[in-house]
Each structure stands twice: as structure tokens, then as C-alpha cells.
């Protein structure tokens, strides 16, 4: 589903972050990526999303090299096959919850019938007409998860999705994310510093200067 082939990336000032990175993910995998700060976790997500380009090497999604796509094609790919979950939720304050969740469907020209079901799935039944200002942080992240999955993307990218939440809410959200990703048959990549969050994935990878390596979790949280 996702192939990273000898990917290299350095920051503008020349500091190398990703060196000869090679890895492949199968469809349906739900992986957590951990690593020290500054090691390049976010950069890796940007490269996978086609929002940044590698200095060398190739990233393929379903055998399509992302770097070969122009901006419109990369946008189209994100629109159809990607779902994003952000740390700061990023829901549009002037849209209702239902409208926020329906956004990817509208962009893909798909019917919006699934919105009510998705709201119910994330525990926000009958609240589609509410505005984001009426919600708590955990509820906002539920909306973001629903928005990321409503159009049944092939790949869900989440970067510290529970970074702004309290432990109890975080636990709920992580469980919900996993359930929804699995139910929708998507591949998920979860970037996190939290061992508890990583533990909800199928397996955990540790990003170091040498590449991605399987990691064993120490239950410290």
C-alpha cells in the first residue's frame, strides 16, 4: 500500500533528517511511529502526504510515485485516499459539526448520507447542527476523526492526535480511532510520543537516524 524507497531528506540549513529510509506498509496495517524530537517524524508524514518532496528516493502509494504528481494531482490523491487527524483538531468554526464532517464527501462529489451515521459512531449523535465552539477538546477531536474517515480513505495520517487531551479522553479517542480505522479498512499511521497511544496500534516503529525499526513498548504510562 505504502512504499518508502531509499528516501532522503535534509532541512534547508543542510541538517539531514531522513537517510536512506526504506519501508513498506500493507493495506489494513495500523502502525505507530515513535522517535526522539527532531528525528523527522513530522517530515516523514509531510512526505507521505505529498505536502513536501524528498531530496532523493521515492514514496509510492498503491504503486503511484507521489513525487511524480503535480500539485493538482497530489491534492486529488489526498482528497480521495487520505484522511488527516491534527493535534489542534482544525475544525472550521463557522461550519456545523455535520458540515465539517461532510467536507471530504463534498470535495469528492459524494453523497453526504453517511454523516449522521459517522456522528453516531463517534458519539455525537444528534449534535450535527452544533457549532465547534459548543464542544470540548475531546469532542472536537471526535469530529476530526469522523471527518478523516467519512470518505473511507485508504490511508489515515494522525500526528499526536491526543497531544491536547487529558489521559482519559485521550484513551477514549485512541480507541475510537483504532475502531474506526479498522472498521473502515484503512491503513493508519499514528505519530506519537506517547507509549499508551502507540500501544493501540498493530505494531510500533521507531524512527532513528538509521531508519525505521520495529520497537518494543515499555509500559511506562
Amino acid at each position: 500500500m505504502l512504499e518508502l524507497i531509499n528516501v532522503n531528506k535534509a532541512y534547508a540549513e543542510g541538517r539531514k533528517v531522513l537517510t536512506h529510509l526504506t519501508y513498506a506498509l500493507k493495506a489494513g496495517d495500523y502502525v505507530a511511529i515513535m522517535g526522539d524530537s527532531g528525528v523527522g517524524k513530522s517530515t516523514l508524514l509531510n512526505l507521505i502526504a505529498g505536502l513536501d518532496t524528498p531530496d532523493s528516493g521515492e514514496i509510492r502509494i498503491n504503486s503511484v510515485a507521489i513525487s511524480s504528481l503535480d500539485d493538482d494531482a497530489a491534492t486529488q490523491l489526498r482528497r480521495e485516499q487520505f484522511g488527516f487527524i491534527f493535534q489542534a483538531f482544525h475544525v472550521l468554526p463557522h461550519l456545523t459539526l455535520a458540515q465539517n464532517i461532510a467536507l471530504p464527501l463534498l470535495l469528492n462529489g459524494a453523497p453526504t448520507d453517511r454523516v449522521e451515521q459517522m456522528l453516531a459512531d463517534v458519539g455525537l449523535r444528534d449534535r450535527g447542527h452544533h457549532f465547534p465552539r459548543q464542544l470540548s477538546g475531546g469532542e472536537l477531536q471526535r469530529v476530526a476523526i469522523a471527518r478523516a474517515l467519512i470518505h473511507r480513505p485508504k490511508l489515515v495520517l494522525a500526528d499526536e492526535p491526543t497531544g491536547n487531551l487529558d489521559p482519559d479522553t485521550a484513551r477514549e479517542i485512541l480507541q475510537l480511532m483504532r475502531t474506526e480505522i479498522k472498521t473502515n479498512g484503512a491503513t493508519g499511521i499514528l505519530v506519537t510520543h506517547s507509549h499508551a497511544a502507540a500501544a493501540t496500534a498493530d505494531f510500533v516503529l521507531n524512527l532513528t537516524k538509521d531508519g525505521l525499526h520495529p520497537a518494543k513498548l515499555e509500559r511506562s504510562e
Partner: protein, 849 residues
């Protein structure tokens, strides 16, 4: 670290980060102050120079005695000279004489000639003594000598020793330029002659214009004036220098006040821009301020910080505005003259001088309005609860506090009330206040109207399958109306004022055009080169003209200036044949009149202009006394007519009544109706063939109409200029607020780009938002502008200039301006948005990645 350092850091940090917005706000304040200050400087300079030039003609006299009519018998002079308390009496004859070489310019073809008694004038008005060639002092008394001011010499293109031809009635006389008037004011076009010589040449034997009096030391001026007024009776008026100043001030006051109001409109629009810039800046930094509050910044400090930011913008903007205003005034006065092309202050060449007091006032106005624009956002920021303010999505709720609906309703209601109130000191003060309140109320109501309109549109269109872009646009406009409204305020203010002015000017222009058609019914108008009110066509010349072939009808008019009030300019008295069966056939009467056939017998009817009703309280059906003839006579006011030519009042009466009362059979205008088949050119050629043909001023009514409309258009050119400035400021406001809002929405755009919204879709979104908002602004601006135009047409104009008009809407022009505004605002929004969208989408959501 001191709190001053923190304040400085925050201030410079904000300006560095949003340099463009800061510059736009500065420009808006500067332009607003500059327009207001420059108009003030120009008006003051022109008024002072005109007043000084007028005063220089009456020299150092304590009192002046005038007749109710332009001229009076000189027998009054020895009486005044021998009155107890008078040290010196100086007789003066003042005439406006036609210069034949300048006849092609109907508006500017007369030279003011002052006849003085040199031996007396030397004590009272020495500036009027001509400078003769060396050894030719007696030239001052010579019967062919005339002395010209430098401006007059330049205008006439003559020098000392040259000959100068002038028209007197139907004859031409030639005088010798004996010297100059070196102490005349710059631009003042006057000529001086010996009074006896002037009386003789200009057929005014035994007549004077005024007698200037110098009183003996110790005589109480006020008491003497009262006593003399009583003694002289109602045929004369006694004035002081201050009366003259008042008269001049009254003449131009409405014009000056109106122009100042227009200039303040630019400042108002600028103020609104500052307000919106500050609101957006505060809203954008809401979380930053909340953080500062959490860290220990007090409410007081926060309030002070934001108001200081506004004050610094106000200080810099106002200082720039003063400099710019001075430069604009100096340039405008060079290019357009002191009256900006309106001919309100004829014959003066003022120069601008920096007025420190006015500068301080306009600086303070600029500073205060800027600070007022900052106070509301500052209070909101200071009162906001940090915990709530830290949350995103509460911005629109915070902004709603700036435009509570009750405030809008109060403004609109008070505006409505003000439209019913009378003028104050003959100025439409409440009319202007009503306009300001309508604007403020309209702008404050914008968020509600925007929410209502766009929610309705969204609901309506949701039945159909809407594009993502349109859904996003409509949802934002409907659900965040306060942010939308703030961008729209500038457009609404400037467009509504533009609409109001356009409707007012068009109504005025169409009304004038109709009126000209009514008051100039004949094909040709012929005037004798009259010397003031005297001279013109005697009975024999009237007969000669009437007997010329080719005319269907010939009417004779007599016009005269009459003074009814020492503090007001003279009114014009028209004596002409008025249709006895129905005066509407002759005069452009309003509905306020005695019906045809209902006029009582044995009364002399007069028809008064609207200004007479406002200024002198004349009412239809009333009997009034007017100084026509040797004494005053009683007349019945039979109707009110519209007069766009004379804002200080005019009266029409039957020529036969005038001739019976005065015994004066001369006339000064002849109206000629051509017979079918007769051309105007042939008729003019016939008139020129007459023995006195060369001295006639002949005008086609079509030319007079065209000239009048040309003068009208020129008068309003400066109005359009000021309105354009307001629109440019409005567009700057759109640019500033859209730029600020799109920057604040960078995360929104970043997220949208992540989930698959194309860059061009975001551009379309911004253009659609800008376009839809502007469209709403245009629709509401039209309604608001139309309402303001009603105030201008039916309240401000009648109260300022004492004339009414019919309402006419310039649809074509309004559509064009609306189109231009729509495209400009959409492009402005798009360009402002590019800045935000062109940024890195990763950086836009960087706190996540």
C-alpha cells in the same frame, strides 16, 4: 524588564508582523485628515482674501451708507458730510462695466470700476489712489484717465499709456490707462477713476453707490449708527465693517459648510477603516492577549496597550495628513483657484498659509477619531475572559459585541427624528447628523443583515447540489457575519455616500435642466452693457428691436438688486410681463401659489423664490412692502417659484407695475422668440446691424443652458473627487480587512489544502466571498445611499441653499459604479488572499506536524 519595554516589544512585533495593514491604516487616516485640512485651508484662504479685498475697497471708514437699491441720489452726501459727529464723508460710485474684448466669456467679462473723490479718499482709502507718471499728479482728475490694478492690467493686457475700450449702455467709450494701483491685492481686478468723471462717462450723473463715513474721535459708533439709520429711514442702510464681513460670510457659508462636510466624509470612512483594522488586529491576537493576561498582564495594561497602538497610528497618520493636506491645498489653489472652480469667490487669488490653530484642531480630530476606533476593540480585549479567549472559534462571538442590534436601531431611530428638525443658524446641522447616524446605524446593522441574507441563500440553495466552494463560502458568510461585516463596512460607507451624492447631483442637474427650459423659453436673449442697475434699453431702442423682422414675440425685462437686510446679500428684483391668466406659463412655480383667477383685484402681485420664504419668512397670501420706486410699496405674494440661480432670494413682478411705481422705462434684457423659418444666426446678424449692435450681449438660450450646465458640472467636480477619495479609502479597507482575515484564516486554508481542496478552489472561495459580500454591500449601500439622498435632496439642500428639487436616479451611472466596485472588491479580496494561500500549508498547521 519594564512594562514600557514589553509594551514596545508588543507594538513593534505587531507592526513588523502586519506591516501592510499598519501602512493601510496610516494611509487612511492621513488621507482623511489631508482632505479635511486641505478643504479648510482652501476655503479659509479664499474667504479671507475675498473678505480682505472687499474691505480694501471701503478703506478705513467707520460706517458706510448704502441705498436699498444699487444707486441713490448724491444729494445725501452733503447731508451726511454735515451731520454732527462725522469727521469726513467720502462719496463712492462703484460699477461693473462690460469690457467688449471679453464678451465671449459670459461669466467673466466685467471690470469693477470705483469712482472716488481723490481729496477725500486720501484720508479713508489711500490704497485706491492711482500711481501716476512722475509730474502728472493731475491725471487723477483727468476726464479720460483710469487707473488699473496689476491683475486688471494683466487680464486686459494693457499697460500705462494704453487705451482701454469699455461698453456703456449701447455705446463704447475709450479711456487712457493713466497708471496703476500698486496696493491692490493679488488677483484683485479693479479700476479707479475720479468720481465725477465716472458719473459722466457711465451715465450716472448725480448718483452714488455709497458714502463712507469717518467719525470724529469720541463718537460712539453703535449709537451713531442707530441714530443715523433712524434719520435716513428705510430707503438707506448703514453698515459697519463687521456687517460687511457677516454678509460675505453668509454668502459662502452654506457652500463652505457643505464642502467641509464632504471632506469629513473621507475622514469618517478613514475612521471606520482604523476601527476595522484595530478590531481585526485585536481579534487576531485574542489568544495572544489571553496568554498575556494569564501571565499577569492586567486589564488596565491591556487596555492601555491597544489604545496606545491606536494613538500612535493617529499621531503619525494625522501628522502625515497635515503635510499632505497643505500640499494638496497649495496645488489645488494653483490649479483650480480659491473656489475650486465654482466661482464662489470671484476675482481673488489667495495663497495658502499654514494655520497652526487649524492644524492643531485637525491633528486632534485625526487623533481622536483614531483613538475612538481603538477604544471598543480595546475594551473587548480587556474584558475577555482569558480561558474563553484562548479557545479558537470564539472570534465571531467576540466581534458581535462591536455591533449590537439595539445600537443600530437607536442610531436609525434618532436619524429619523433628526430629519424632522429645523436648521440651526440656517445650516442643516440635524440633516448632517441624521446622515452620520444613518451610516453608523446601517453599518452596525450589517452583521444581522449579512447573517439573514446569507443564511437565507444557503437554505434556498441547499435544495440543489451545491459545490464545496459555494457551501464553504455561504456557511462562512452566514455563520461568521461579524467578520464579514467588518470587511464590508468601508464598502458600505463609501458606496452609500457615492450613491447619495450621485442621486443628489443628478436630481439637482435634471431639475436645473428642466428649470432652465422654463426660465429661458425664448430663442435669444439680448442685454445692454449695463453699468450696474442703470442704463440699458431706452424706449426708442426697445422699439427698434421690437420692430425687427423675424421675431414672433419680444419681451422686455428689468432686473435690479435690492437690499432688504444689512446682514444679507441683496436680492434680485425681476420686472417682466407675467402671464395674467396663469403665472405658471411664465414662471417655474411650485405648488405653493394662489390659484389662477383667485388673485384679488387692485393688488400688485409678486412671486418670490424659495429662498425668500426661508430667509425672509415670506408666505403666499401675505402682503409685504418692498422698496420699489421712491418709497416702499405693498405687494401681495401670489406664489413661490424655484430659483436655482440666486440662493439669496429673488422676486418677480409685473413690468407694468414696476414702471408705474418707478417711472423707469428702461429695461436691461430683451427676450426674442424666432419666427418659423428664421435662424438664430440670421437674427443675430440683424441685431448686429443695428446702430448699437456692436455693444449688445446676445446669447442663444441653448448656449446659456449649456454654459449653465457646464458651470454646474465644474462646481461638482470637486465633490466627485472627494467621493472618489472616500471610495479608494473604502477599497483600502476591503484590502486591509481581507488581508487581515485571510492571514488569520491561514490554518483554515492549510487544513483545507490537506484534505484536498485545490489552490484554485481557495482562490475561487476568496473571490466568491469578496464578490458576494460586495454585492450585499452594494445592495445595502444602495438602500442606505438612497435614504441619505432623500435627506440631501429634501433637507440639506433646501436648508443650505433654499431651493427644492425633484428626485431623479441615475440608474446607468449607479450600475456602472456598482460593477466597478464589485470587480475591484472581488479582485482586492483575491489579491489580499493570495498572500495567505501562497504560504506553506505545512507551516499553516505547524503546531501539529
Amino acid at each position: 524588564m519594564s512594562s514600557a519595554s514589553l509594551s514596545r516589544w508588543l507594538l513593534f512585533g505587531e507592526w513588523r508582523a502586519h506591516f501592510v495593514q499598519m501602512i493601510v491604516a496610516l494611509i487612511a487616516i492621513a488621507i482623511g485628515v489631508a482632505m479635511a485640512f486641505s478643504i479648510h485651508l482652501i476655503n479659509t484662504a479664499a474667504f479671507n482674501e475675498f473678505s480682505a479685498a472687499s474691505k480694501s475697497l471701503s478703506g478705513q471708514s467707520d460706517l458706510q451708507v448704502y441705498g436699498r437699491k444699487a444707486f441713490f441720489d448724491e444729494s445725501l452726501y452733503p447731508l451726511l458730510a454735515n451731520t454732527e459727529g462725522v469727521a469726513l464723508a467720502n462719496p463712492v460710485l462703484e460699477l461693473d462695466v462690460v469690457v467688449p474684448g471679453k464678451l465671449q466669456n459670459r461669466n467673466d467679462h466685467k471690470l469693477k470700476i470705483i469712482g472716488i473723490d481723490m481729496f477725500r479718499a486720501v484720508h479713508i482709502s489711500p490704497d485706491l489712489l492711482g500711481l501716476t507718471e512722475e509730474g502728472k499728479t493731475l491725471d487723477r482728475l483727468a476726464d479720460d484717465a483710469i487707473f488699473l490694478s496689476p491683475a486688471a492690467m494683466e487680464w486686459l493686457q494693457v499697460k500705462q499709456g494704453d487705451s482701454l475700450s469699455l461698453n456703456v449702455g449701447l455705446q463704447t467709450i475709450t479711456l487712457r490707462v493713466a497708471g496703476g494701483l500698486v496696493r491692490a491685492r493679488a488677483g484683485q481686478r479693479i479700476a479707479v477713476m475720479d468720481i465725477g468723471v465716472a458719473q459722466w462717462h457711465f451715465q450716472q450723473l448725480g448718483l452714488l453707490s455709497r458714502v463712507e463715513l469717518k467719525l470724529k474721535n469720541g463718537v460712539n459708533h453703535a449709537a451713531f449708527k442707530v441714530k443715523l439709520t433712524d434719520e435716513l429711514g428705510e430707503s438707506y442702510r448703514v453698515t459697519e465693517a463687521i456687517d460687511q464681513e457677516k454678509r460675505i460670510a453668509n454668502m459662502s457659508r452654506a457652500y463652505r459648510v457643505n464642502l467641509n462636510m464632504l471632506a469629513l466624509v473621507a475622514l469618517f470612512t478613514g475612521t471606520f477603516l482604523v476601527f476595522s483594522t484595530q478590531v481585526l488586529s485585536v481579534i487576531r491576537r485574542r489568544q495572544q492577549f489571553a496568554l498575556l493576561r494569564v501571565l499577569g498582564f492586567t486589564r488596565q495594561q491591556l487596555l492601555q496597550q491597544i489604545i496606545t497602538e491606536g494613538a500612535i497610528l493617529g499621531v503619525i497618520g494625522s501628522l502625515l495628513g497635515l503635510g499632505l493636506g497643505y500640499a494638496i491645498a497649495a496645488t489645488a489653489i494653483q490649479l483650480l483657484g480659491g473656489d475650486l472652480g465654482t466661482n464662489f469667490f470671484p476675482g481673488v487669488k489667495p495663497s495658502i498659509y499654514f494655520d497652526p490653530m487649524a492644524a492643531v484642531i485637525f491633528f486632534l480630530v485625526g487623533l481622536i477619531v483614531t483613538m475612538l476606533g481603538s477604544i471598543a476593540p480595546a475594551l473587548e480585549a480587556a474584558r475577555a475572559k482569558p480561558a474563553l479567549a484562548l479557545r479558537s472559534g470564539s472570534e465571531d462571538v467576540a466581534m458581535a459585541k462591536f455591533s449590537p442590534p439595539w445600537f443600530a436601531v437607536i442610531c436609525l431611530s434618532v436619524a429619523l427624528l433628526f430629519t424632522q428638525l429645523p436648521p440651526i443658524f440656517e445650516l442643516p446641522v440635524f440633516g448632517y447628523l441624521a446622515i452620520a447616524l444613518l451610516l453608523i446605524g446601517g453599518i452596525a446593522l450589517m452583521p444581522r443583515l449579512a447573517a439573514w441574507a446569507f443564511s437565507g441563500l444557503l437554505t434556498l440553495l441547499q435544495r440543489y447540489r451545491l459545490s464545496t466552494v459555494l457551501t464553504l463560502v455561504l456557511a462562512r458568510l452566514a455563520n461568521a457575519p461579524n467578520q464579514a461585516a467588518i470587511a464590508l463596512g468601508g464598502i458600505l460607507a463609501s458606496f452609500s455616500l457615492m450613491v447619495a451624492m450621485a442621486i443628489m447631483v443628478t436630481s439637482f442637474r435634471v431639475s436645473i435642466d428642466d428649470w432652465l427650459g422654463h426660465v429661458l423659453p425664448a430663442d435669444l436673449y439680448v442685454r445692454a452693457a449695463a453699468s450696474g442697475d442703470q442704463g440699458g434699453f431706452q424706449l426708442d431702442t426697445q422699439k427698434t428691436i421690437a420692430e425687427l423682422p423675424g421675431f414672433d414675440r419680444v419681451d422686455f425685462f428689468r432686473t435690479q438688486q435690492v437690499s432688504l437686510d444689512v446682514n444679507r446679500p441683496e436680492i434680485t428684483l425681476f420686472a417682466r410681463p407675467v402671464d395674467r391668466t396663469d403665472a405658471r406659463n411664465t414662471l417655474p412655480l411650485t405648488d405653493d401659489r394662489i390659484a389662477s383667477g383667485a388673485l384679488p383685484e387692485n393688488v400688485m402681485p409678486i412671486w418670490v423664490s424659495e429662498a425668500m420664504v426661508d430667509l425672509y419668512g415670506y408666505r403666499v397670501g401675505e402682503k409685504v412692502r418692498l422698496p420699489v420706486g421712491a418709497t416702499s410699496s405693498e405687494f401681495l405674494i401670489a406664489g413661490v417659484w424655484r430659483d436655482y440661480g440666486r440662493q439669496f432670494g429673488a422676486v418677480q413682478m409685473q413690468l407694468a407695475d414696476y414702471q408705474r411705481l418707478t417711472g423707469d422705462l428702461t429695461v436691461n434684457t430683451v427676450a426674442l422668440w424666432l419666427q418659423a423659418g428664421m435662424t438664430a444666426d440670421a437674427a443675430i446678424a440683424n441685431l448686429r446691424q443695428l446702430p448699437f449692435g456692436a455693444a449688445l450681449e446676445i446669447s442663444r438660450s441653448s448656449d446659456m443652458r449649456a454654459l449653465s450646465l457646464e458651470i454646474f458640472d465644474r462646481s461638482f467636480a470637486v465633490t466627485y473627487l472627494l467621493e472618489m477619495v472616500a471610495v479608494v479609502i473604502g477599497l483600502l479597507g476591503v484590502a486591509a480587512s481581507f488581508s487581515a482575515q485571510t492571514l488569520a484564516r491561514a490554518k483554515e486554508f492549510g487544513m483545507l489544502r490537506h484534505i484536498g481542496v485545490m489552490r484554485r478552489q481557495i482562490f475561487s472561495m476568496l473571490a466568491a466571498e469578496g464578490g458576494l459580500l460586495t454585492l450585499l454591500g452594494i445592495v445595502l449601500g444602495f438602500v442606505l445611499g438612497w435614504s441619505i439622498s432623500l435627506i440631501l435632496v429634501f433637507i440639506v439642500n433646501p436648508q443650505s441653499f433654499h431651493w427644492t428639487m425633484q428626485l431623479h436616479l441615475p440608474w446607468g451611472w449607479l450600475t456602472m459604479i456598482a460593477g466597478i466596485m464589485l470587480v475591484s472588491a472581488a479582485l482586492t479580496a483575491l489579491l489580499a488572499g493570495r498572500q495567505a494561500v501562497s504560504g506553506n500549508v505545512i507551516r499553516a498547521v505547524r503546531e501539529d506536524w
